[in-house]
Assembly symmetry: C2
Homo-oligomer: 346 residues x 2
């Protein structure tokens, strides 16, 4: 009997391994795609990192991009919804900045067609960074002695501090925030010990159950599409009064809020599953606290399937193999304004 079990489990692993070797499974590229008009250069990345971590891009001087997209953690804040200036909160959970370079559109509703466009938003959002306008941001940056030369180093000697250059630099930095060497990547590149048995089984379950229908591609966020195209799915696809009562997913109309088109109701960008184990709580409204519950909810609402505890555990084990490793980063020095500061909003 023991022999038979061993034999069966070897068969199962062999089958999982063959799924794992199919063309479906792609490792993350070692370099993020970059637009023709904003090649990733070291000087731009340096400037972008400083801007990303500089709280002076907020009205109060307290909120940086990093406050809600923490690069020292899973690239977000592990809160249901983010907290901006004065502790204000909105309705959506901050998506991870890690591997966001592999999304063809940005934000839960895909309203930004590029990382550059995404970076424009939060700075002047009254509940996020609260600046009145990008003109105000630019005026502030111009008063910080080191910034003009950082912009020139990044964009050429004639370059000025502008909104466009600022968001380009931030996007260039974000394109370096990628995690191409996860256990999963090592596994699909041929290192068969990079995943444990349960993770391989979870990988198989992930495919068989149908998670991979949407969470496909190297970033598990759908097919590789040109920047700006977007890959959206309706969430929830299947009505479920129990989960809806508990989590209120449908309070948010998703992409409809932007386009006002009927067909965009409850449509959301399919988010990357890279580092998903590090980004609880889950979903656009951060209503689900744990990854196992998130897997259960997804299977029910998107595939109309009731997963067993074992299936959920296996998928979660697999999803944990999509975490990190994170590149080492030096802390930037934020340029100083010797002897003075700004009149921040109180």
């Amino acid at each position: 009997m023991k022999k038979l079990q061993t034999f069966v489990s070897i068969l199962a692993l062999a089958s999982a391994a063959s799924i794992a070797q199919s063309a479906e499974w792609k490792p993350l590229p070692g370099k993020a795609p970059e637009p023709a008009d904003n090649p990733t250069t070291p000087a731009k990345v340096k400037l972008g990192k400083i801007l990303f971590l500089d709280p002076r891009l907020s009205s109060t001087g307290t909120v940086s991009c990093n406050s809600c997209h923490n690069v020292m953690a899973g690239g977000e804040d592990n809160r249901p919804v983010a907290a901006g200036v004065h502790g204000k909160t909105g309705g959506r959970s901050a998506p991870t900045v890690w591997n966001s370079a592999f999304n063809s559109v940005q934000f839960w509703d895909g309203r930004a067609k590029s990382l550059e466009d995404q970076a424009r938003g939060p700075v002047t959002n009254p509940i996020e960074m609260g600046m009145k306008s990008w003109d105000d941001v630019v005026a502030r940056l111009k008063q910080i002695p080191e910034y003009p030369q950082l912009f020139k180093a990044a964009f050429g000697n004639d370059a000025e501090i502008t909104e466009d250059n600022a968001v380009k630099a931030i996007a260039a930095y974000e394109r370096t925030l990628i995690t191409p060497n996860s256990p999963y990547d090592k596994y699909v590149k041929g290192n068969k010990t990079a995943l444990n048995d349960q993770q391989v089984k979870g990988m198989q379950t992930f495919a068989e159950v149908g998670c991979i229908n949407c969470h496909s591609g190297p970033a598990f966020n759908g097919p590789e599409l040109p920047e700006g195209q977007g890959f959206f799915m309706k969430f929830p696809t299947f009505d479920n009064p129990y989960f809806e009562g508990k989590y209120k997913f449908k309070d948010d109309m998703g992409r409809y809020e932007v386009t006002k088109k009927e067909e965009d109701k409850h449509m959301f960008k399919v988010p990357t599953l890279r580092n998903v184990a590090l980004t609880a709580p889950y979903f656009h409204n951060g209503a689900v606290k744990t990854l196992d519950e998130a897997v259960k909810v997804m299977a029910k609402l998107q595939l109309n399937k009731d997963l067993s505890k074992q299936q959920i555990d296996d998928i979660v084990a697999f999803l944990n193999a999509l975490s990190g490793p994170f590149p080492k980063q030096e802390m930037p020095r934020l340029p100083a304004t010797p002897g003075k500061t700004f009149n921040y909003v109180k």
Copy 2:
């Protein structure tokens, strides 16, 4: 005439140089003093840096020590008063963490006798990091899988996650946040080109006017005293209705708020002037926006002297020579809680 001017200015510089060579001027030690019961070790510093940057030490998950004591900048937040959880603000300006290891007491009112004791405060302060108790902090840290081993690495295999160990680690990290190689330090160690002429003149003016009476010692925060002793001065010493009307310094009773002793009214810890050019706005209430105004106000309120524009400019030039350089630091990875997070206060 031109010759005479040159001669006079050479004389002035010679005199400044001789003041600069006197025993009064001490460079910052290359290592901060450390208490016998908390030697600074790499494992403790590593843990302390992680804790310092971890926003999970706040009720909302949004505020870390670094939020108000930004080590990527001047070691504070460049705001009049700091902003804690929910954007709450208090009455005092965040002091710099840089070189705080050279203060014999901590906080504006000196209520903490050590860095360890200081670190206990903000975490449970309702307008700072807002945790209900250190028991709650410890309980939270215990749920983060990597923390137990980080504490063991820092404090020994039998060590637990405790408040005492957490504040020891944070203090150990803070003892590495020192800037002993400023232009001033290089100058007093013999590199006579490290300061420019105006800075040397400002150094002389700083001494002659009397700033150095209180801002003495290698950290310009008074004599080197044993940990816990404290060096306090009354501020303002001289009444001045104009400045008081403008800046409301006396609304804060200083050390009296802690001791309730008559003699402690308006007594404040003499703060370090290291990196003072990077820590605007100034004074305990952050009411003064620029360093030149701060120098003017100090001379009037503490020494009853009206400085000339030239004297102020020279002193400010000298104070700028007390900035940095800052050690390069790697960003820590914050330990993860795979698949879950905390129930942060909304």
